[in-house]
């Protein structure tokens, strides 16, 4: 991970994403411009349907904007080929989801190793990197367990380890505490904070929990109806 706090990790320029639903055109993200600096912990806040997850998916390269541009590492995601977008997802960003999205038939170790396989990392290097990621989320004792044998908090930590294993520069978390109780959710957010501070990783977290956003994020960006409604850095 490189960059200083002043460098831009990811930037959207007048980005829009609309869907055709029957006769209606739904603008999920509407002309959003935002620059997220390196090592920043940004909370994207908004109610359900506000467009925050869509914006996160656009930043992740999982979706393409209808118009506008998204820049990461100096390249416009909107103009990338699907192969390049896959490379972006593999090397630049790591993703954490509300529903953990671990593969149920794989052990924790295999789940964490999966991005390394996709990135064609040499086999000899994999075990060390898996262990490093798992130790960072304090799950080293559960390596051989399958997701069904882990608690919700452990599953989210496992998902976090999987997101970290390829050493991305940006961590994108979509409602990471949405399926967790309050204490476990706080523990996950503490972990994110720790990762942000110790690794200097840029974090963009989608949430609808204003209090938590205020407690953990450096900056809170709120959205409503696909547009940015506020953007404030904590003092």
């Amino acid at each position: 991970m490189t960059g200083t706090i002043d460098e831009i990790a990811i930037r959207t320029d007048a980005v829009s994403r609309s869907y055709q639903m029957g006769d209606a055109l739904v603008r999920a993200v509407d002309d959003v411009s935002i620059a997220i600096r390196s090592k920043e912990f940004v909370a994207l806040l908004g109610s359900s349907g506000s467009g925050k997850s869509t914006l996160l998916n656009l930043m992740a390269g999982l979706d393409r904007p209808t118009s506008g541009a998204i820049f990461a590492r100096g390249r416009n995601l909107a103009e990338m080929s699907s192969e390049d977008l896959a490379q972006h997802r593999s090397h630049t960003v790591g993703m954490v989801f509300q529903s953990f999205n671990l593969l149920p038939r794989m052990t924790l170790e295999e789940n964490v190793e999966l991005p390394l396989r996709l990135a064609e990392v040499e086999r000899n290097d994999r075990a060390g990197r898996v262990r490093e990621a798992v130790e960072r989320v304090r799950l080293a004792a559960r390596l051989t367990h399958r997701p069904s044998e882990l608690s919700g908090g452990e599953q989210q930590r496992a998902a976090l380890a999987r997101a970290l294993v390829n050493r991305p520069t940006i961590l994108l978390a979509d409602e990471p505490t949405g399926n967790l109780d309050s204490a476990t959710g706080d523990a996950i957010l503490h972990l994110l904070q720790e990762i942000n501070e110790s690794l200097g990783m840029t974090i963009v977290m989608v949430t609808h929990d204003h209090d938590r956003a205020a407690r953990f994020a450096h900056r809170i960006v709120t959205m409503a109806d696909g547009k940015l409604t506020s953007d404030g850095t904590k003092s």
């Binding site: 979706d63 699907s82 192969e83 593999s90 999205n101 593969l103 396989r117 996709l118």
Partner: protein
């Protein structure tokens, strides 16, 4: 994703839905098995027919006669520009020259003569034929009672069953007994001063005879030779050109040659003044295989001899079997085509079930190409396993058919046969074809999986 990781993931995915994937693989295996069983029957029957025919000596043989004789074998000879070459006598020198040609295995004369034998004090008329040592592998001697000649120069005889029945009501009991062959030996007369020069013209015609041109001729001397009966054969082995005039009493060809039997062409040779040279009436040239018959035939014709072979007959035979194999292959492939629908169904179902997984893989950095290759690998692994299992099943079916057929043949007191044959190329071809068909069946599911929108896939519950 690297190939090893891809294979591991594919294997893991296949193990997850073990029952469904096993049934799909079994479907492929049944398809491959039907294809292999059909083709193995076709190839087996072809090999059986080819073996029998090649053993008969008719299809890998060229029959040679001198153009000095009338129209060779009584058949129109093939047009040949080399016909312009002068006619030559079919003598020992010509025999050696033909034997030296490429792809020629052996050259031997046709020796067959009617004569009389003495057995247990009684005379019996029969036809004696000289049999080359190579005839041992002749299918006609399969299942014979007793044994083939112990060597090329032994005074041993094999009886044809019908003749053996003339000698005894219990033909098997004849083995080990002796018989006396009575024959007419040709003894050349001493050369006269003016005789011994060939007067044959370049055009093969003999000039009008004059008193001084007559060859010394030969005398016929009755001889006897004792032969030990070593075997009784039920079939009628071909003993020369086309198998005409079957031999009832078979003796080693080399022994027959030493007998200097007076043959039908001897009278003609006297008139030509070549009787002392020991010309052959005809020679049989055995070549390495039917495919070499044409080249050998051409080479012999260019030496000035008339030839005949059953080459055209083998061509049509191979054509018939090629069509037969094709039809069997098509019927066999139908089952594999049905099995490929099973693969498509299984993989399409897998896409629906693993929609979310595909979304996760894409979110973690999998490219469309990785997803496509993953589904291809799964189809390929099913094809490979199905192919291997199918070949084994096909072999079992073929073996069962052979077993059943041989049980029936044994009841009919007939020798057993190898009804099915699975050569290595069929094993490799069937497995390769199975993988190919499976991959083709995987094209649609794989591209559909690769095109899945990851955002929608991740939303899928």
């Amino acid at each position: 994703m690297k190939a090893r990781d891809l294979t591991e993931l594919a294997g893991r995915n296949l193990r997850e839905a073990l029952l469904r994937n096993s049934l799909t693989t079994l479907g492929i295996a049944v398809g491959v098995a039907s294809l292999v069983a059909m083709l193995s029957l076709g190839v087996g029957l072809q090999e059986l027919a080819s073996k029998r025919l090649s053993r008969s000596g008719l299809f890998d043989a060229v029959f040679v006669s001198s153009r000095m004789n009338q129209r060779g074998f009584g058949r129109p000879t093939r047009p040949d520009p080399a016909n312009a070459s002068p006619a030559k006598p079919l003598d020992e020198q010509a025999r050696q020259k033909i034997a030296g040609l490429a792809n020629v295995v052996e050259v031997y004369p046709e020796i067959r003569f009617p004569t009389e034998i003495q057995f247990e004090g009684k005379p019996f008329s029969t036809t004696v034929a000289g049999i080359p040592a190579s005839a041992k592998s002749d299918g006609a001697f399969d299942g014979m009672k007793g044994a083939f000649f112990s060597g090329p120069n032994v005074d041993e005889a094999i009886l044809q069953i019908e003749f053996a029945k003339d000698l005894s009501t219990q033909p098997d009991s004849l083995i080990g007994k002796n018989l006396t062959l009575r024959y007419a030996e040709r003894q050349p007369l001493p050369p006269e001063p003016s005789a011994g020069k060939s007067k044959t013209g370049a055009n093969g015609k003999t000039p009008p005879l004059q008193e001084t041109d007559l060859s010394p001729g030969f005398s016929i001397v009755p001889r006897e030779k004792i032969f030990r009966i070593v075997g009784v054969v039920e079939t009628e082995p071909a003993t020369g050109f086309g198998g005409f005039g079957r031999g009832r009493l078979l003796i080693p060809l080399q022994v027959a040659e030493t007998l200097r039997i007076a043959q039908a062409n001897d009278l003609r040779e006297i008139l030509r003044g070549t009787s002392s040279k020991g010309n052959y009436d005809s020679l049989t040239v055995r070549v390495k295989g039917p495919s070499q018959v044409k080249s050998v035939e051409d080479a012999i014709q260019s030496q000035g001899f008339t030839t005949f072979s059953l080459l055209d007959a083998t061509k049509s035979l191979r054509q018939v079997f090629a069509v037969f194999d094709l039809l069997l292959g098509i019927f066999g492939s139908l089952a594999l085509a049905v099995a490929s629908l099973g693969i498509i169904n299984t993989l399409v179902m897998a896409i629906l079930e693993r929609r979310r997984e595909i979304g996760i893989l894409k979110a973690l950095g999998a490219a469309d190409r990785d997803i496509r290759r993953l589904f291809f690998a799964e189809a390929g692994v099913m094809g490979l396993l199905g192919g291997i299992l199918g070949v084994a099943l096909g072999w079992l079916i073929g073996s069962a058919l052979t077993f059943g057929t041989n049980v029936y043949l044994r009841r009919q007191e007939l020798p057993p046969i190898d009804l099915s044959s699975i050569p290595w190329w069929m094993v490799a071809g069937a497995i390769g074809f199975s993988v190919l068909v499976s991959l083709a069946a995987g094209i649609y599911p794989a591209s559909r999986a690769a095109k899945l929108n990851p955002v929608e896939a991740l939303r899928y519950e």
